[in-house]
């Protein structure tokens, strides 16, 4: 089929236009504002060079937010990918129990993250929360999920994973279904046991799925905002604040839009670097057959 250049250009133009308006231009504005002292509401501002970045790298709140963000990212990436692969392998069978379990895991994915966070914040209540009522009924002492920031962050990470695992499971199940059954049968004939088949055949052939899922989960973790906003609001005293939460706080509460843009720019660079690293590592492990 012959390609008509004008035709092709017209077809992709809306996509490029939307991408430019909602991605390229805001990113360019963010880059520009990060070198200003704009308060977000005044009509005038000044160029202040790298002052926002100098202040940012000396800001204890930024390092705390970075730590919280990384903890959430590591936990969610591990759960999404390790548990996701294992569940996909276990549930990739055609029977009713597996079909029901897959559906049950997928259901939270269709719920809004804000709704999920509200539901869980009621479940986690120290006084009157479902978990503690059940523990009380079993004669156990209640758990204060907000007792320490670390405990709260771990709990939030588990909630995020519960909310999103279904999507990752679907991708892994789809990837598993692309593995030719002949390979498995040949390995079985050659005497390979289940563990050997998993590590020597299944896992290497699932690498394309692992690549996409690890990038999606890592970027999602680094951008985390909504669950934390609803469950703790970043408190107490910013102890559970993620980078995005910190950025919004600086922009809309402290009137420092320039500084907030610098935070977002650093986050953007961080995501690009980590994604590129991850892509190069997992791509190298992909197997062609």
């Amino acid at each position: 089929m012959k390609h008509n250049k004008l035709h092709d250009t017209l077809l992709v133009a809306p996509g490029y236009l939307i991408y430019t308006i909602f991605m390229i231009i805001p990113l360019g504005m963010c880059f520009f504002y990060s070198f200003t002292n704009w308060d977000g509401i005044s009509k005038k501002f000044k160029m202040i060079g790298f002052k926002n970045f100098v202040r940012l790298f000396a800001d204890a709140d930024f390092y705390n937010a970075l730590k919280v963000t990384l903890i959430i990212t590591v936990i969610t990436v591990l759960i999404y990918n390790v548990l996701g692969v294992l569940l996909a392998v276990i549930l990739n069978r055609k029977n009713r129990v597996c079909a029901f379990t897959k559906s049950a895991i997928f259901v939270p994915t269709v719920l809004s993250s804000v709704v999920v966070a509200f539901i869980w914040s009621y479940i986690m209540q120290t006084d009157g929360g479902v978990i503690n009522i059940l523990l009380g009924a079993l004669g156990l002492s209640p758990i204060d999920f907000y007792a320490t920031p670390l405990r709260t962050i771990v709990m939030i990470s588990i909630i995020i994973s519960w909310n999103g695992l279904g999507l990752f499971l679907v991708i892994y199940v789809a990837t598993l279904n692309t593995i030719p059954t002949e390979l498995m049968e040949a390995a079985e004939v050659d005497g390979a046991n289940g563990v050997q088949r998993f590590f020597k055949i299944t896992l290497p052939l699932m690498m394309p799925g692992i690549t996409i899922n690890s990038i999606l989960s890592m970027a999602g973790g680094l951008k985390q905002y909504d669950h934390v906003k609803v469950i703790t609001g970043g408190g107490p005293g910013g102890a559970t604040q993620t980078i995005t939460l910190l950025s919004v706080e600086k922009a809309f509460e402290y009137n420092r839009r320039g500084y907030s843009s610098a935070i977002i720019l650093v986050l953007f660079i961080l995501i690009v670097i980590v994604s590129a690293l991850q892509l190069s590592i997992t791509k190298r492990r992909e197997v062609k057959y």
């Binding site: 509401i41 005044s42 005038k44 986690m124 970043g234 408190g235 509460e253 420092r256």
Partner: protein
Amino acid sequence: MKKLLSLIICVLLVCGTVCTAFAADETKIVFCVNIQPQLPLEFWQSIADRYMAANPDVKVEIIGNPSSNVTLPQYEKTLLATDQFPDIMVMQNPADFVPSGALLAFDEGDLDYLTDPNVGKIDGKQYVANYKKQIIGVFYNKDMFAANGIEVPQTYQEMIDASDKLLEAGIIPFSIGLKDGWPQGQLANMFAGTDLLAKDPHWGAKRNADEVKFNNPDLVKAMEKYQTICTKYAGPNITGLTYTQMLEQFFTGKAAMLPIGSWVNAEVAKAEQDFEVGWFPIPGDEDANVVSVFVNEGLSIGADTKYPEVCKDFIHFFFTDKELYGEFLKSEQLFSTTKETVEYEMIPLRKNMEEQISTMQEVEGFESMTGDDAFLPGLKDYFTNKMTQNIAIGADVASELDAFDEEWEIAKEAIDDAA
């Protein structure tokens, strides 16, 4: 058929254009309101409807913060940044908006119907028609106090002794929660009022002139008292408690005292609790004679409005329609700010509060000081969302106040840079 359809579309387009052109002549003002349980959208809409009924040539459109996760000032800042700033708005912290030139100053005499039209002036100009006065203090369970032989404390030490007695009886003395970010700040405001602002009501202006620091002996003492209450007498679940749960803990008799603002009278008025509720101001070292008052909230006009006179007339209408203003005051059992008395159905506790504070020294709520005493932009949020939370979970008070001084330096530098 296609021709007929095209013709209909063309006619509709022409009609639409003509209507829009005529509609453009209509005087339309946008009113940004503070939607909350006691003042729902319907209440604000009823104000607009009454004004439009009296002024048929004016259309008033109501907008409000879209979610409880977005505070009104945050929403208004977003509107300003996107060139959608309203004509009239409920304003809670004008000090955040005045430096950017977003608000219109009222002229001398515009607000003569208010008791104190000068309250909260910034650089000699008034930007807010203050529509309510609220006080902060301690609501307490009278039955619980009586059952444990506790009198209303007159000094800080008596309050600590009372709290110890309650703890011994297995009762949580104070209902305080950090989860929503702001309620705990009220207790910190009270102590700052008795220990700092009572001595120097215009301390805020001195701080703004960099003549004093947040880390000073009086504020350190106030914040240490606040920390003692939060860490020893607020129960084990302070970090996980929301504002609603704080209220629930008090009104279901699980906690004896609730340090919060007079707006809680709206909850008392529901009379769902099975005990009598009392109120006292936070006591100082020697006596209980100081009360912190919030006068920071009111109605403001956007500097870029096309209809400043209509906006002023709308605000005048709000205050002088006694039925309307009375309904507004009743919603939270508020204190009026108008010269003319406005009657509404008051609960006995609200009357008792008025009697109690009539002989007391009034100081402004620390975080919401107004006019030249107001915190620099952004510092109010730092005080409530960060500093008071950190202190409540045991952070070193002096270090936190030092950090607050550093934040002040950053905010000041931003203002100087913009100038």
